[in-house]
Amino acid sequence: MWNLTTLGREVSGCGISGIIHRKGEPISGQMIIKSICCQYERGNGLGAGFAAYGIYPDFKDYYALHVMAQSKEALEKVEDFLQRRTFLTFQEPIPTRKVKTIHNPPLFKRYFVKPRVEGEESCGLFAEEEQMVQIVMEINEKIEGAYVISSGKNMGAFKGVGFPDEIAEFFRVDEYRAYIWTAHNRFPTNTPGWWGGAHPFTLLDWSIVHNGEISSYGTNRRYLELFGYKCTLLTDTEVVAYALDLLIRKLGLPLELACKAMAPPFWMEIDEMEEEERELYSALRILYGGAVLNGPFAILFAYNGGLVGLNDRVKLRPLVAASKGDLYFMGSEEAAIRSICPDPERVWAPKAGEPVIIEMEEGAIPNQKSYLKVRPKEVREDALRIRSIPLSLFTS
């Protein structure tokens, strides 16, 4: 019998793999399956998953909600909720195959929606995405036995309890073609088999696969809760997703700096920097200390427009990158890359804390996002009230 809930926080080791085509040409799912299955020994059959970008071109402007449910009743509740809160354009069961090792799987269904945005002025992308985040959080928190496993435009996550080949077979991953793929093979050590705990973990079009244990989980969770995130899935990876969302989407940090906030340089390195850089990096650490991911990790995260690899700041987990033409690969092991690209032009091991950021060429895909630049941040007025300094005699 499979579980939708867990008792405690997840701890796991893992294998990861990712591919991106910089011009947005579709890559067959068979390729990512081969790459992740090459790292079979890095999992123990208790979780695997895939994220694919560009798989729903017909509904590219709608948020694709992949919902996992324990029962028909739970699905009905989700549908009721979606009726109230979204404009639903299309829904269908996620096609699956019977796999003899997967008994009694949960129900999977996908919905293509746009949120009903309240108020007049809030019609921008930010407000719309904010609304989607709320919808996802509410379903996960309030509807028992139902989880949204992905919620981005033109992308989706497929994950569950099993080895990667089994999960791929189950979700018919080989039939999809995507311009970004990530995959995960899981080795959990404490809570056997719960479907929601498998990777990738997603929020909007962020998807994350993660190998590691976030020792700073307690600190990160408390910090993220300050901004209204609710950590319901009890996985380390969940906090990574929310931290990315907070730093990049809400606080407007460019991607590179967001990575540096999560895996910051050491103070002794910062002390050696030129003044301007030193001030910037000091400020990053001082303000966003709650978002520092401490402990061993290698993560791959993707969004509509890019794939990023990041290691912890002392590189306690493996991560290798490679490229050939417009194709870029990242994985836990070089073998995983060479199994699908025997002759890469360049292979390298990214340094500790140095992000590998691969964004697609401009205009390569619809609804493309780029996070390389500084963007305006969201302002929370309530929290600003604590320091309204009165008119000063001295400051102008």
Binding site: G218, L226, P254, E276, L284, I286
Partner: protein, 507 residues
């Protein structure tokens, strides 16, 4: 017939002299400031007045032939679970003199010490522990109020800050020295603390006794205190340090002010405190310009104006029942950091009833304040400094995991310079030269010695903290802050665990 003084019949301590070792050098007489050792000239021998012995162990430590042992006095009252010698003797004292029971240091009652019911985590297999001897391990902490988000701009392809951060204080180790006034403790201890703070990259605190002229050079590591007595407070003083601490309360005596007896007000102290020699320095219970939270705001910004917004303003409160709401008000009033001093916090002089029975333990207070500030969404904008009963580096780690940014130590620093916890600081006769400004006694603790001991202590603790962080698999202190996952309770009730937000061991 003279009225009998009952208290004098029953000594607390017993001075045992080993006559086969004693060479009658009279060193004990010289060392004892309470005159418990007496030279009997006629018989050419030494006598003891056990009643006068406070148990400071000075004579024992300095006897060249180790001929003295200070013991609990063996004489006993009949057993009674309720009427223990402590209460009997206190009643005698008050019946004899009709005064308030005075004492020093922090609460001595065996209330549950929550630090001792919390255990720490370590890594095994699934994540590797980090070895601080081989990998960097960071304790640096910044204190002060912070904006929520950075303003960043891109110039010539490089990112930089669009708007600099407001002034913040950098601590290389999250252990500061608590406010202890010049007057309560000796100038030499102040000098030692100041120099140690400078070399450790942390802060010491003047307490409310003003700042001695010799200490202005340590300004970058100084917190100047503004307490209800306003002793020694002038604009140069306010500008001398990096932060100003408005002392509303002290853990050892919440709800009352301070009292430095006239006998302790020497020439130097009178200059520093700006009061006449020999006059009692009484600080009132409230600040008479703060009768409400808006008045506190007024003072915070008056101090900021006076120092041109270059100095941080801390507000120190004692941990009382409603500490979470008070701390939240303090932060909203504009304080850059809230300093919470718990039940176990020390003092140079306090009424015994206040020291032992007023206030709540710091562990519960830290957690409650942290929770409240998080619930209000402002925790990351401010700093919490906790003090009161921090005895070892594990206590520091636990305090930070419960939500403090940094801690202050007072008693621990004094024990480092030789204090034996005899709890008689208020007499001004400290035989160890710590809580006194008697020119002769001062010499017993030179500033260099004070510096070395304090420096060593914090250096040792810092190393231990690094080891503990490494064992937990984290290499920077910010990942410990508020991280209750690193704590488990042993032997606490559900309610206590809820307040501390920790799980029980085994969960």
């Amino acid at each position: 017939m003279a009225t009998p003084q009952f208290a004098s019949f029953y000594p607390d301590f017993y001075i045992e002299r080993l006559w086969d070792r004693c060479i009658k050098c009279k060193r004990c007489i010289k060392e004892c400031t309470y005159e418990a050792h007496i030279w009997e000239a006629k018989k050419k021998t030494l006598l003891e007045d056990h009643v006068k012995c406070v148990g400071c162990h000075r004579c024992e430590a300095f006897c060249p032939t180790k001929a003295i042992i200070i013991k609990r006095h063996p004489a006993q009252f009949r057993e009674h679970a309720l009427w223990t010698p402590w209460f009997i003797k206190n009643i005698y004292k008050q019946a004899d003199q009709g005064g308030v029971l005075l004492t020093s240091t922090g609460c001595m009652l065996p209330f549950k010490n929550y630090f001792d019911h919390l255990v720490l985590d370590a890594c095994q297999v699934t994540n590797p522990p980090i070895d601080p001897l081989r990998e960097p391990m960071e304790l640096r902490t910044y204190i002060g109020s912070k904006p929520e988000a950075l303003e960043i701009e891109e110039v010539d392809g490089r990112f930089r800050l669009k708007k600099k951060l407001p002034p913040l204080i950098k601590l290389e180790v999250p252990i500061m020295f608590a406010g202890m006034s010049y007057g309560a403790i000796s100038l030499h201890v102040h000098q030692g603390l100041a120099k140690a703070a400078r070399d450790l990259g942390t802060l010491y605190n003047t307490g409310e006794g003003g700042l001695h002229a010799s200490l202005y050079e340590y300004g970058a590591n100084t917190v100047v205190q503004c307490a209800s007595g306003r002793f020694g407070l002038h604009v140069d003083y306010l500008k001398a340090g990096v932060a100003i601490e408005i002392k509303i309360g002290q853990g050892a005596k919440p709800g009352i002010g301070g009292h430095l007896p006239g006998e302790k007000v020497t020439e130097e102290i009178s200059k520093t405190r700006m009061i006449p020699v020999g006059s009692d320095a009484l600080s009132p219970a409230p600040h008479h310009d703060i009768y409400s939270i808006e008045d506190l705001r007024g003072l915070i910004f008056a101090l900021k104006e006076a120092t041109e917004y270059q100095k941080l303003v801390f507000v120190k409160i004692s941990a009382v029942h409603n500490v979470a709401a008070i701390a939240s008000g303090v932060v909203r009033a504009g304080a850059d950091a809230v300093v919470i001093d718990g039940l176990k916090g020390g003092t140079g002089a306090a009424p015994t009833m206040f020291r032992d029975y007023i206030g709540i333990p710091i562990e519960l207070a830290i957690s409650a304040v942290d929770k409240r500030l998080r619930a209000e969404g402002i925790r990351h904008r401010t700093s919490i400094i906790a003090s009161g009963g921090i005895r070892c580096s594990a206590d520091v780690v636990k305090a930070i995991a419960l939500g403090a940014d940094a801690v202050s130590i007072g008693t621990a620093a004094l024990i480092a310079v030789g204090c034996t916890m005899c709890q008689r600081c208020y007499t001004g006769k400290c035989p160890w030269g710590i809580a006194t400004n008697n020119p002769e006694l001062l010499k017993r603790l030179p500033p260099e010695v004070a510096y070395e001991k304090i420096y060593n202590l914090v250096k040792g603790w810092a190393h231990e903290i690094k080891e503990m962080l490494g064992a937990m698999g984290i290499n920077s202190i910010e990942s410990l802050k508020g991280n209750r996952d690193k704590l488990r309770a042993v032997g606490l009730t559900k309610e206590e665990m809820e307040i501390l937000e920790v799980k029980h061991a085994g969960e």
